[in-house]
Symmetry: C2
Subunit: 120 residues, 2 copies
DNA sequence: GTTGTGTTTAACCGAATGGTTGAACAAGGA
DNA sequence: TCCTTGTTCAACCATTCGGTTAAACACAAC
């Protein structure tokens, strides 16, 4: 398993089945058996998917008799959005500054070489 | 490689080295050799990381003589943030409605069983 | 107790991943 | 032309991953 939390979250959501599980948990808690029903994989496979999501902090479990309902923990999403927004903003800022530069010095010479007289 | 774009993006960012590369590219374009310098892996390994980022649509390449500068394509971030926000909002909405429910019916009986008279 | 239901763990398998070294390819400069 | 620099491709290796089946565990009900 990945060492850092961000890698765990991104890695957990890199699987379409796990993303689908997260999507369904957003509508309400569910048990492993309920979650496994729509897929044609074993319930054991889904149990392991839930372990991955749990290790990433995306879901938590509780206990109701034999059942262990799964609950979505949406706070971890912030970890990702913060990382993403940081670099998106930085890239946009860089783009804006380049744009300004090009607009404030319009008399600069073109990158075209100064025409050293090769005959055409 | 993963079939769907979302899996490719999440998977690409699940690796800390690749996230670091993205972070550095947010500050400006760079070549493979420049990007590889800080890490103690071969330049071939970094080249493959860039292939993964490219397949995810996170970076693009151009050509300057022998060099092939890498450029960050930040638009793909939207794919992730849209997915995340969708379910975050849904989960928060669900939480809010549950909260309302609990507030509007405060006279409901507690989940505690009705005390059937076992002697203590 | 035993039986039954829900869930996780263990052991295995094939495919994918991230690293290596060595060879090949692309473009400029002597 | 040959040489140097920058980059990618090919082959290999160890590890991880997502799936399986079979066994173990947790709790309820009988």
């Amino acid at each position: 398993m990945a060492a850092d939390p961000l890698s765990r979250v991104f890695s957990a959501l890199a699987d379409p089945t796990r993303r689908d599980i997260v999507g369904r948990l957003a509508a309400g808690d569910a048990t492993v058996n309920e979650l496994a029903a729509p897929y044609d994989v074993t319930v054991q496979a889904v149990s392991r998917h839930l372990k991955v999501l749990g290790d990433a902090g995306l879901v938590s479990r509780s206990r109701e008799a034999q059942r262990r309902p799964v609950h979505l923990e949406a706070e971890v999403f912030d970890l990702m959005t913060k990382w993403i927004e940081r670099y998106r903003r930085q890239a946009e800022e860089r783009y804006r500054r380049l744009d300004d530069l090009l607009r404030t010095m319009p008399d600069e010479e073109e990158p075209t070489p100064p025409q050293t007289g090769e005959p055409r």
